[in-house]
Symmetry: C2
Subunit: 722 residues, 2 copies
């Protein structure tokens, strides 16, 4: 099978695929004789499902397990199993993994907990596992994994009780979950919605194989046509990103539900950027930039993959054109309303198309939606409407909302949807009444069908919010290096804030305009290379908020005033921070702009470099509006970011204010985002960046920069992370 892939991780015939999903043999280490116990379930499930591979129960103290022969140890098996499911207590895991490495087992899936989530002792165990497999061909799923399931070959290598059922619905979606219990929830809910899965993996704490690498292992599996991810955090960001790009190239959508939308975040960084860019927004930007459709409803995750498959993942620089056709006004209104809440305004057909609809016997009052209520739920009417709208080519996708006929007479309004599903216009259906048979018929026919207006709007919005930006993968931070590289690339470093004058030199290096500045060390006021009035600020890396310690004097009119200001600043700072030495003062001209903007850059420990735009000024953190992207960004993206921050509309000119230099602001954002070329810069925030009238540029008048330096005494990031 030929397929466009962009990464070595996703090469053809991925070596992980066979042991992980199609093992010829599996061993169950610690298999219990009691089929109802957690450690007894996998054997019972594998037998019930009729798995055709060889299954070896391994039990140190029993010769028989569930009426089958058991082996005392892996070494005693007649062959080396492709995959081993380790169900021993935590303390025995390392020995078993070592045995697997020695035998050359392909995949070890570990059920026990007590690793990354268990403090220092857990991290010690984690490092031990990683060391054991280092350089070997053995890979680990978990620990804390509830297992690996392949519904196509009966590989029920899981302790999740839901898989006790005999008749799963087999489909073409790979579900990968950071929550073990969710693989059971997904498979049972999918079955109720008529959505089948091909395989499901509980990744646990990802000490080795992360979500992205497990997904990538199926890129050469022709039966898998989409991915559903249940995420608690973004781990292995670079690998996930490469996988997502490869999946998009192969026409396989990735849909993700991610927890943490309301987490306040533990971050209390000194700089505003840290405080502003809460983890949720970073994740959201990351997923969107990866081309992953991020849903906000559980049903949207299950029902959304099929819709995503119908919509090409092309970089789209305009609002999606979603049309709605309905046989029920109220039902459609709910979807339209919810889409609007999510930022998508449903687009009406043209007057010409409304005229054609009337001609063809599907008359509807010209409005935002095509409401066929008056024409009635009739086959001919719905068919004519769908044909007409498909031919009109005015929409990127069509949502068909069907009323009571969906429950009672699916041959009227539902049948035409199935017939025209492949006609060229992506379609999704929402059924207003409970209509399980119509829902199943639509889903079986490949028409994405949603049970609630919220999941319908959610999935449509998520699918059309994918950006799939081609951001160059840099050498900076986590995004390049995957799960183990969180934080500072796995090496021992410390970060420190530099003083403002040094920060200005970083701005100079990336070509970001900033105020002229003179550093005065002594008491004497030198000749300044700019004219008064000026501003004087204490210069120290130790004082993040200069105004809080009386370290800033504005509007100084002459040399005498500057002399007084310097004395005043030093007196104030000495009283607040007596431990600091006598400090230099930075003097700049007083500048003004039409608006104050905050632009920020930092290397996020999870997703790598990000860039941020928000309202600037002293009260920046009072406002929630901001826009965030993976860095670097181009000018088009920078302009999109500016447009996303509502209060910055003032830049376009408001009432009688002149328009500001948005082009220069966009260029500044692009320059800032190029910090990916300087991996030692961990964080840079300009606040405020003064934006002047059009043609007059921007100028930074304050900056905070955090630099990392090698430090052999620093702890490894994984030692402090939990």
């Amino acid at each position: 099978m030929s397929m466009a892939v962009t990464s070595g991780t996703a090469a053809e015939a991925n070596p992980l695929g066979r042991p992980l999903f199609n093992p010829a043999s599996v061993a169950l280490v610690g298999a219990s004789n009691d089929a109802t116990r957690t450690t007894g379930r996998p054997l019972a499930f594998l037998r019930r499902s009729g798995f055709q591979g060889t299954v070896y129960p391994v039990n140190r103290s029993r010769a028989q397990v569930q009426d089958e022969q058991a082996w005392p140890a892996l070494a005693a098996l007649p062959e080396v199993p492709d995959q081993v499911f380790v169900m021993t207590p935590t303390d025995l895991v390392a020995d078993t993994v070592q045995e697997c490495v020695e035998l050359g087992v392909g995949v070890v899936t570990v059920l026990a907990d007590g690793f990354t989530e268990s403090g220092n002792s857990g991290w010690a165990r984690t490092r031990q596992l990683r060391k054991l497999i280092d350089g070997s061909a053995t890979r680990i799923v978990g620990p804390s994994s509830l297992g690996v399931v392949n519904l196509r070959n009966g590989l029920m290598l899981t302790a999740n009780a839901v898989f006790a059922e005999a008749d799963p619905l087999v489909g073409d979606i790979l579900a990968v979950s950071q929550s073990g219990s969710m693989i059971g929830a997904l498979v049972s809910r999918g079955k109720a919605l008529g959505v089948g899965f091909a395989s499901l993996v509980s990744v646990g704490s990802e000490v080795d194989l992360s979500v992205g690498e497990i997904c990538a292992a199926t890129l050469d599996d022709p039966d898998i046509r989409g991915y559903a991810l249940f995420l608690e955090s973004i781990s292995g960001a670079a690998i996930l990103r490469r996988f997502a790009a490869a999946a998009a190239a192969a026409g396989r959508p990735v849909v993700a539900y991610k927890l943490g939308r309301s987490s306040a975040g533990a971050e209390l960084a000194q700089s505003h950027t840290g405080a502003l860019a809460g983890e949720e927004e970073v994740s959201a930007a990351f997923l969107a930039d990866c081309g992953i459709a991020r849903v906000r409803t559980l049903d949207g995750l299950i029902e959304g993959v099929s819709f995503a498959r119908r919509v090409p993942t092309v970089p789209q620089r305009r609002a999606p054109r979603i049309g709605v056709v309905t046989s029920t006004g109220g039902g459609a209104a709910m979807v339209v309303d919810q889409l609007g809440v999510l930022g998508i305004d449903v687009q009406p057909p043209s007057a010409e198309t409304f005229a054609k609809l009337a001609e063809r016997g599907a008359p509807a009052r010209a409005a935002r939606i095509v409401d066929l209520t008056l024409a009635g739920a009739q086959y001919e009417v719905m068919r004519a409407a769908l044909e007409t709208l498909t031919q009109a080519r005015e929409h990127d996708a069509l949502i068909v909302v069907v009323g009571s006929s969906a429950r009672l007479q699916p041959e009227t309004a539902v049948r035409p949807i199935i017939e025209l599903a492949g006609a060229g216009l992506p379609m999704a259906a929402f059924l207003a009444p409970d209509a399980p048979q119509a829902l199943a018929a639509l889903t079986a026919a490949g028409v994405p069908c949603f049970r609630t207006p919220e999941s319908c709007a959610d999935a449509v919005s998520a699918v059309f919010s994918r950006r799939l930006r081609e951001v160059a993968v840099t050498t900076t931070g986590a995004a390049a290096n995957g799960a183990q590289a969180a934080g500072t690339g796995g090496s021992r470093t410390t970060d420190h804030v530099v003083d403002e004058n040094t920060a200005y030199q970083v701005l100079d290096a990336i070509g970001l305009p900033r105020a002229a500045a003179v550093v005065i060390d002594g008491d004497q006021v030198p000749e300044l290379p700019f004219s008064y009035p000026v501003v004087a600020k204490v210069l120290s890396a130790e004082i993040p908020h200069k105004t809080d310690v009386g370290g800033v004097v504005l509007g100084i009119g002459d040399a005498e005033g500057l002399h007084q200001a310097m004395s005043s600043i030093r007196r104030n700072v000495a009283s607040h921070r007596p431990e600091l030495p006598r400090l230099p003062v930075l003097v700049e001209p007083m500048l003004s702009g039409l608006a104050e903007v905050l632009i920020g850059y930092r290397i996020d420990p999870e997703v790598g470099p990000i860039v941020l735009v928000a309202v600037g000024g002293e009260l920046a953190e009072m406002y929630v509006d901001r826009s965030l992207r993976l860095a670097p960004v181009d000018l088009v993206t920078a302009r999109e970011m500016i447009a996303e921050v509502r209060p910055l509309r003032v830049l376009e000119g408001f009432r009688r204010r002149p328009a500001a230099d948005i082009d220069a602001l966009a260029r500044a954002i692009v320059s800032l985002s190029q910090l990916t070329q300087r991996p030692e810069v961990r964080e840079l925030e300009v606040n405020p960046l003064l934006v002047r009238p059009r043609g007059h540029g921007v100028v930074a008048v304050d900056a905070l920069v955090r630099i990392s330096e090698p430090d052999p005494d620093a702890p490894l990031p994984e030692e402090v992370a939990p």
Copy 2:
């Protein structure tokens, strides 16, 4: 039956109740012989359901309809029917209604459309209908009503196709919908979720009976224990509000789903208040102030009533304390996350309670939720946990999330929930897998059970967001007068903006501090009663945005400067608005505050007087944060409003800024909200209101006031509304 009711509308033995829901006889005017046609369905449905009352098909041209005797006219019937369902074409409706009035029919339900939604001719028909019933005992449901259903007595007086089914699930909820098709969607979806309805009404265009009055007609119906409303708009606001208060007093919750959350609104008023207070926020404030739980998911509407019934509707001035117990970490995390998005932080039990849990065999790591995953899904564990948490009295409600055992072994974790449902702590359940039997068992046992994490969080949040403020019903505007009084009380008036000096007099009358001001008509600069610097502003009711026409000069230092400023203003205004005469100039002292706030008041055409707080200043409309309530408000509510506007946190003191006079701001909001006493004031916006340091008060430095005056030539509001 004795019951606390607060309104005459909701008197005992409501005279509407019998003809509307328990008619001894009904007539079907325009009944078709074809049972599959819309006008044939009601007869077929009534026969299938076994309705025990007398049914009279009325058909001008047939002696028999669906093998039954038909009558040629209402006058030919052997008795006066209690309710008449009119299924004639639009043009024949008035004649039939007239006949009903003459006969003394209690309720006429009208199917035809072509009334309020059909422009001027429709409004003419509407007025005709209202005139026909004026002073009579006959009431109208509709037009555009799909009918009235009482599942308890088989009254299937509806054309909604879903009611063709023979086995509806009968429950204790009255569903009232402004969308006719939704009564079918609700009843079919409710059945799938195990939630039954007692009655359902499609209210149509509410030319007479509005949602509130129809609901109130069941306050003496002992079988109805809650209300589910599907709303497209708020109509008959005052009646709805009185009903909601009576329902709350009777312990019957009202849950509403309302469309229009994303509507941009048609409002392009001159003042910012109009632009800021989009219809959605007005509706949201109205419903919350009425004590109505406003849900945002369709499932939440169906599943939420039962939960609402368990939570007392008391005015609550603190965040709700919601606890979560679970046998599945991932499933619970979705609910916790979604609750957080909706503003509710799940509250952990105390350390003492965690210790008790461990003692009683339900050990859980101390965290935000009680996660029993490790202890396993066992009956004893879940029972001990629920008992302990009930006894601890640390929560207002408990959400129990059950994992795969809900599907496979409901006797373990699900049974204890049912057993302890009545133990004193309101409980709701969310089942992570698809578990229809456990869901049905919980629902049947009276435990609110949710199918998705989103509907669970939605309903819990909606129920705890009810305020049930006791706002005095005033004589002002729509809120006092119900559906027919929209806009200006049904009378002919015009609104006009007054000039700023007149606006200041309104502020004086309500005791809201404002800047001193002098009006200068001529060219001479008089002695001012305040010192320079001053600000000069053109004074005209015709110029809403003075800065837009060069009509403001700030920071004028002396009399000579003022003279020049007056000339400059008059020249600027003359060039922008040459049609205006030479205008006076208003002069005020230059004042400053710690912050600029916008406070607004207006009489909303739907819900009556409202009051609003937002960030002030020239860029007010760039920010979305604001808080809105029905007026009048008290000091406690005013303080809550200030706290809801995030950027106003700066008032509390920020970095080294002093704290502002929040008390004075709260008093100003209360004063403004007292405008309900002056019904001629339709709108008043102060922007900015300067808030000074604590103890130094607030001062308005600009105000926009709109006054209504009787105008015999003005159109009636209903003539312009559509």
